[in-house]
Amino acid sequence: MVTIRTEEITVRLGRYPAVSGITLDLFPGQLVGIVGPNGAGKSTLIRAMLGLAKSVSGTVSIDGTPIARLSRQEIARRIAYLPQGQTLHWPLLVERLAALGRMPHLGPLSRLSPQDEALIDAALARADVLHLKGRIATELSGGERARVLLARALAVGAPALIADEPLAALDPGHQIDVMDLLKAEARGGALVVTVLHDLGMAARYCDRLLLMDRGKLVADGVPLDVLTEQSLAEVYGISACIDANGDWPLILPTGRIKG
């Protein structure tokens, strides 16, 4: 169980604040989606939560401890991070790549235990890539590689998971699989934070949505309170057809608002 708290955090990239003055409390057991247009500061916000962003003012704390007082390894054990669209620098085997997820739990020269191996296999199976175990990760398709990297994040076994655009490059079937998986993680007590561009998926799966625009948090709440025709017009500059009456909320962007 992990809670993440940010207090008045501002992150500067060069001269401009990419994130300005965001205060948030994120609780375990929830699937939290972060939405907003390109350049809204979504990725910067989650990098700040992980202590990876530079020139951050304000404090981020994990379970009440400011991250400045935690070592990288202590953060890594609590929060698993899946960065967006990762390039791989060496042609590693899928199982070796997933095994990197166990790194936060290992001493510098210790080896993987049978429990570690079991956790890695379980993570590969959950991301539906166990059959790719013996393949070289750089030779997989974009979607397969994305799922292998998700397995790598799951293999950490951390009580919190932060995933940056986990649906990019996935076919509709695997998009649903991944969202089901994130939802299940949250139902199992984990805190799951994910950046999404598919508003329909965000509305359908997330317990809570954060809408960001130009570095600021402009709305925070249950999906259908956050995603309204008015907010979509203001933030994205789009008109949208929103239907909240069916079994699932439907959000269909219909056009660009000129002006």
């Binding site: 590693l92 990197l100 510098p108 993987l112 950490v156």
Partner: protein, 331 residues
Amino acid sequence: MTARRHPLLLPALIALTLIAALGSLTLGAVPLAPGRVLAVLTGGGDEVARAILIDLRMPRMLLGLIVGAILGLAGASLQGYLRNPLAEPSVLGASNAAALGAVCALYFGLAHVHPVILPLLAITTSLVAIAALFLLAGPSESPLTLILAGIAVATLAGAGISLSLNLSPNPFAAMEIMSWLMGSLENRSYAHVSIALPCVLIGSALLIADGRTLDALTLGEEGAQALGADLAKTRLRIMLGVAIGVGGAVAVSGAIGFVGLIVPHLVRPLTDRSPSAILVPSLLGGAALLTFADIGVRLIPTSSELKLGVLTALLGVPVFLVHLMRERRLW
């Protein structure tokens, strides 16, 4: 995260290193039959064989092994850290800078004041070069930036060495300086071994333990940090390890290039290609390769003995070419 290698890789490399060591003792300008070598090694043997073996060939063999080992390991470690298969102490200017330090010590006569000054100066300049390189290349993951920074550092160090040649007071001094540029293990004594060995041991100790962080860097710097890697500490260990190890090695052998490039490329296909899996094989392979190359320069019939650095450069160029062809998808 147990690195996977071909099960016979390490035994084969150990055997190869032993063969190289034995060859280095047996082969040379004066042929010594294995029987005479064996007699000396077991405590007997004649005076001549004893002198050649113990005083001439033994230190040369030991230096070949330890200098080669650190060059191979430093290449593997730098390639892993920089995520760049072309990284190597000489390509990045660390060897040249160490040679510049050694040349300065010779040129200003500091080397004669105390024997420690030459290796110390070589280590210092090599450390400065690597720090400058990491600073110039920044956190960028592009191989181009790194190679450009390496060229800048290596060229600057080369210019310094050329300057000392240019201004050298007499042809003998110039000859001595030249020999640092080409690298050689000719006429080395146990004094040289006692300089190089501690540096190489410290350097190897600093470089060999970071395999897991190097593997994590496959995911990029942020990916590795999010897995708990402390990159600042790793970077410091690698900088110090390369500077102390390679600096100490160059201080006795001169700048020998390309060993750190060739060896990781040769052993990588026999492993799972993860950076951690090639560290130990590169150390052993470097020791074997340089010792074999040193046997080569002794046996190739030329009017004066070939310089070791010349031979390793000739071996290194094909590796560059193969890489180029792969990049252009001609292979």
